[in-house]
Symmetry: C2
Subunit: 382 residues, 2 copies
């Protein structure tokens, strides 16, 4: 019989113009002083920043700001944010951006309540306390808006590792599909790959996987496939944008992992090395790793791969399902080979080294030896 | 574009023997004195009560108890509980039983923190405060373990109405499929009907229904059909029992209603009249109402009924899907006609009167006139 604890206190505010009410939502939690973190200056040009700030001012919430968070977010920015939040006496962090921005915000929220080095949390220290976290998502992919984890890269050690803990659940996450409809075509398809990766990691690796969870994951993957195709045709289809965004949230809010046992994240473990060494977009790295990893792993869970082929693509046989996923990635235009990312030779060796270290640190080195990782990459070459 | 707010802070503790840790879970919330509510004395004979109480004692939690809550729970018992909780100075309520027991507990939790008549909450007053609520589910059906609502009948007025409000989310709900494996065959199939009813109310009535929600609901219904059949063969298949229980929770924890607009609960509205007047088990009433209501409603949402036929039963055409659901209810042995429940003549008139009043009070009388309700019942006769 399977077992689990499930707890997810994040409030989701989904829909048009909800970002304008962020001040009201934050005031409900007693927020007085916040650090706003964001990525590019686009949110200022678009008027998004001003419309959020107007809501904060209406509730008397003071703020300071820090822009410049990039995708594959880095530890130095987190440390900069911690200094700023401490100086300002922030009681909360507001992220306006995608998953990278929110993940940085989570690390800043934990680091501000801690005297030591924030990296401690990435290498095992428990997060006991954090500033209150709020976010407005401008990109759907990571699911960070409804979970208690985040990923940041230590640029000095090239470790792209994660922080997690109950205090890191956002208090309120705003998802307005309209804000996400200006995402570039590239980032849409990378996001699709990321959501599918979140869906399949447990699906293929868990030794115990409840039937109901299989069915829910399949519904989620089919939603991503369907809505990505609609959005490539018409980026402003807001219902499809909404379904896509909610599929992203549902893929990693814990619900598709309840009752599973032994689930691991090998695609992420391998891809993080690519992001860390080559700074490739996370989703683009994932769409390269997934088909290769699936070929490499399929013999260990053949029935599940056959099921995947049948349920997702209406095909017979494990290989057919893997090829269909790869073909679909090709069709939507997210890369599927290392050649496309120009990862080869010495750089590839560095990536393999980095992934091998991840495997050690993530306690996955029993299966993911250097040789095994090299085998997966060999299947991803062309 | 669709809109929603979603918030669900209930912690689920799912799996073997989790009920023994209830004392520990309650202590995490600072509980000192609790009122234990339950239904029949079976939980004492089975040892369940003692094993829970042992956990409470270990944490120094004092308690008083009130048994005798019956299915289709009644207001007089709620009032008895409120008196007891106030006298004892309870800071919390622990329900050990099914949905009726937990729904009563929710009403007691609200009523204990209120000087007026608890029925006020059932006719519109907002619940501002409640004792902390905990529960151990011995029956999967209502989904009450992960939502903020409850249904109780006022025996004086024969109104079977609901109470809801954020303070009524349970703090911790224990779902141990093993405890549910002794549920009678009858209550298993009634529960299946109840879960399917929770799934289809919004599915067929909402004027806006996100595609992702359609797919998640379908996954849930298919899980219920599959696992009910397994459990009828082998009541002790604990994986199927777990999937069945989790499908019950997922059907009414809010997730299958996000983004929907205009959803209503006509099957429940009509069935509550049957329970109120004739004291039929809720699920048995629902399996009679549903096929009749579906026939009556289908022309208003034909495409969705065709989709239901196709996705759930692999059939073409709205009627085929409705007939297949009715045939499945017949097969598992939950009633599908008023004749089976012996509801006819004057009693039926009384039921129709009661449902007509519900329609008024639930703001559904624009569609559900007395004539309309009589038409639905006419389709349920044989």
């Amino acid at each position: 019989m399977y077992q689990f604890s499930f707890y997810n206190p994040t409030r989701i505010e989904f829909g048009a113009e909800k970002e304008k009410r962020m001040g009201e939502f934050m005031a409900q939690f007693g927020v007085c002083k916040t650090l706003i973190v964001y990525g590019s200056e686009r949110i200022k040009k678009s008027g998004l920043f001003d419309s959020v700030v107007a809501g904060l001012k209406e509730k008397g919430i003071e703020f300071v700001e820090m822009g410049g968070i990039k995708s594959n977010p880095v530890l130095s920015k987190v440390n900069e944010g911690i200094v700023l939040a401490k100086q300002f006496g922030a009681d909360s962090i507001l992220s306006i951006g995608g998953g990278s921005c929110l993940d940085s915000a989570k690390a800043i929220a934990a680091g501000t309540c801690y005297e030591g080095d924030v990296w401690d949390f990435f290498i095992g220290k428990k997060v006991e306390k954090a500033l209150a976290i709020f976010d407005i998502m401008t990109l759907a992919a990571t699911g960070s808006e409804m979970n208690s984890g985040g990923v940041v890269m230590n640029e000095q050690t090239l470790q792209k590792y994660s922080i997690k803990g109950t205090p890191l659940f956002p208090k309120v996450s705003v998802i307005n599909p309209q804000l996400q409809s200006t995402v570039s075509r590239d980032y849409l398809v990378y996001s699709a790959a990321d959501i599918i990766a979140h869906s399949i990691e447990g699906y293929f690796t868990a030794s115990i996987q409840p039937e109901i969870i299989n069915m829910q994951i399949e519904a989620n993957i089919k939603t991503v496939i369907k809505t990505t195709e609609i959005l490539l045709e018409n980026p402003h289809d807001l219902d499809a944008r909404g379904d896509f965004a909610w599929a992203a949230t549902m893929a990693l809010n814990g619900l598709t992992y309840v009752g599973t046992k032994g689930a691991s994240y090998p695609n992420h473990m391998i891809e993080h090395a690519m992001s860390a060494v080559c700074d490739v977009p996370h989703g683009a790295g994932l769409s390269v790793v997934m088909p290769a990893w699936m070929k490499w792993w399929k013999k260990r869970n053949l029935a599940q791969f056959e099921r995947f082929a049948r349920e997702i693509f209406g095909l017979q046989g494990a290989d057919a399902g893997i090829e269909a996923l790869k073909a679909w990635f090709d069709k939507i235009g997210t890369p599927t080979t290392l050649a496309q990312l120009k990862i080869e030779g010495k750089v590839l060796e560095q990536v393999i080294d980095n992934a091998t270290q991840n495997a050690l640190d993530w306690q996955m080195s029993d299966i993911y030896t250097r040789e095994a990782i090299a085998e997966v990459f060999a299947l991803a070459k062309n």
